[in-house]
Amino acid sequence: EFSYRQRLKAAVHYTAGCLCEEVASDKEVQFSRQTIAAISELTFRQCENFARDLEMFARHARRSTINTEDVKLLARRNHSLLKYITEKNEEITQ
């Protein structure tokens, strides 16, 4: 279980690094490795929080599968994020 979790973390770290590099080249700055590490860890832990919430939402609706409605519920507190997620979902559905 530890090894699997570390694999996921490593994948998130790699992806975070790529995304930061994109932002860096766009804004003509550089990110230190430590900053990328912190952003990666921040993201990984936030994903854990999301996963716990999504599980609870699905369970509350007596489902064993998390679906897009649960994801929209997760974004409910921020209007612009909710709008973005809803539009993306419609795009994907179409």
Binding site: T15, A16, L19, C20, V23, A24, K27, E28, V29, Q30, F31, S32, Q34, T35, A38, I39, S40, L42, T43
Partner: protein, 32 residues
């Protein structure tokens, strides 16, 4: 990730820096 990156960059730019370090991320962490 992108939100954290953009906010950290803005902070670095406000401090006239071209390298984004953990100090900059720390300042934007509460809002994140």
């Amino acid at each position: 990730v992108v939100e954290a990156a953009i906010r950290s960059v803005r902070q670095a730019q406000a401090e006239d820096l071209t390298q984004v370090d953990v100090d900059q991320l720390e300042k934007v962490l509460p809002q994140l």
